[in-house]
Amino acid sequence: MKIWAIAGITFKEAKRDRILYLLFFFAALGIVASRALAVLTVGDRVKIIKDVGLASISVFGVLMAILIGTGLVYKEIDKKTIFTLLAKPLHRAEFILGKFLGLVLTLFVMTLAMSLIFLAIVYAHTLKIEGVLLVAVGYIFLELVLITAVAVLFSSFSTPILSSLFALAFYLIGHLSWGLELIIKKMRPGAGKALVRALYTFLPDLENFNFKTEVVHGLPIPPGIYVSAFLYGVCYTAFILGLAVLVFRRRDFI
């Protein structure tokens, strides 16, 4: 109950944030402008619209998660409202989870709104509602949930600017960690290879949530990957939140 109360307040607080609407405006602009970009191509215009639309949802969603998420806990500490909250019978883990869920709810509403605009633009070109696109959007949302957890983690012990940089680095690492796989294939067996493999397994692999190419080109997606990617996202998010709680429990505000 306490978690949901904090989540509700966080949601209310986030929806008053102007940066949220600014990012939403640019996301909507990106999705709508995909029509103009499609005119520049030769051949399949709908592909360009789908690519740009999904990219807009993903990029601006990540920016929302990072820019709002990194200030969530810090603001409470900076404005000293944390003292009022922690004086109540409220566990610090509940506080972190409440903040996290509040932002996840905000992102859910934003993703839903961006998806509706996106589907409307696609509908205007194909005259059919392509529900399969929602698979890609769903996993983009799962990625945003993980990024939110990361933003909350860094926000619990660092300033918003540094937290934003760290969270952005996490996002970039998550999308580039597949490069380690190529290195592993070229390395000789030994301790170095084992170390790189361990690093590769531990580092986030956000490509697990990337179904954009498959959805846009209508490629078959192996059923196992849905469950696997979903569980991977849930477990990684739980791990990051666990870390955030661990850090926040030890935090001294005086």
Binding site: I221, Y232, L246
Partner: protein, 288 residues
């Protein structure tokens, strides 16, 4: 009171640690599992969205050269990974990006062309890369030289090879042997007259005996080829009229098909085979 709080905190911290270890183990196991699932890919889908270097250079915030280095390093890894079946599909595109970002970066032109010829078997891409290298670096003779080499040795397009060698010769610093390669390309493409003139010019300008000998051997070869063609042509006409090949080359003079039988550059007679009609030199041009 303080003791009670810390006693409460210990199991909570322990639980949290166990939770962290469990979730980390779970997501690492899931990651290993997810890697085993083969996902369909579009041919070249991993690189198809890399924009043209013309546009990319504006997005590198002044780090164009660094961006070229990074893409080049990545390209080397990418093209040496045999498990990517479709890796050569956008070879020219990838190297054009590097070339656009840093037009004076020499290695990518040579390495790109090498990959195109040796690995991809795509001479069109090799010529595109080398042509870009020559256009962006007009002071470098190595690009038209390499293109000429590919045209001569791989494509066996001697006209194209001759064109590239001629382009290479005009660049200051080009080695003198390129002129000889051009003369050889002219010979192979069948332009015997220009080849003769070129070899004669090389012979007359030769600075040492060794060079004179090389040019002389080629001149011998060109003359022998011209003479042999004329003799074989006369023998073929003789066969058309009489139904059989002449017994000797002198027969061609007696019957009016030839005014005289030419001799090779050393003044020796050619060897005629009355069974096949072939005309050869007494010795190999390279063993005179």
């Amino acid at each position: 009171m303080g003791k009670r709080v810390s006693a409460k905190k210990v199991p909570a911290a322990l639980l949290l640690t166990v939770f962290l270890v469990a979730t980390a183990a779970a997501f690492m196991a899931l990651k290993v599992g997810a890697d085993r699932i083969v996902r369909k890919k579009l041919p070249g889908s991993s690189i198809i969205y890399i924009p043209s270097g013309k546009f990319l250079k504006y997005a590198t915030f002044g780090y164009r050269s660094l961006a070229a280095d990074v893409i080049f390093l990545w390209a080397i890894q990418y093209y040496t990974t045999p498990t990517i079946d479709d890796r050569f599909d956008h070879l020219d595109h990838i190297f054009s990006i590097i070339n656009e970002l840093d037009p004076r970066y020499q290695d990518p032109y040579e390495v790109g062309a090498l990959i195109a010829v040796q690995e991809a078997g795509d001479t069109r891409a090799a010529f595109a890369i080398l042509d870009r290298g020559a256009a962006n670096n007009p002071d470098q003779w190595v690009y038209p030289f390499n293109a000429g080499h590919v045209a001569m040795m791989t494509l066996k397009d001697f006209s194209l090879a001759e064109k590239y060698f001629e382009q290479c010769m005009k660049i200051p610093g080009a080695p003198e042997f390129v002129e000889r390669l051009r003369a050889n390309a002219l010979f192979k493409k069948g332009d015997l007259e220009t080849s003769w003139e070129t070899w004669l010019d090389i012979y007359n300008r030769a600075a040492d005996e060794e060079m004179k000998k090389i040019a002389s051997n080629h001149l011998y070869n060109v003359k022998a080829t011209i003479d042999a063609a004329a003799l074989e042509d006369a023998a073929a006409k003789y066969r058309e009229r009489f139904g059989h090949l002449p017994a000797s080359l002198e027969t061609l003079i007696r019957t009016g098909f030839l005014r005289e039988v030419p001799k090779d550059l050393d003044g020796k007679d050619y060897v005629y085979d009355p069974v096949t009609g072939d005309v050869k030199t007494v010795v190999s041009p390279w063993r005179r």
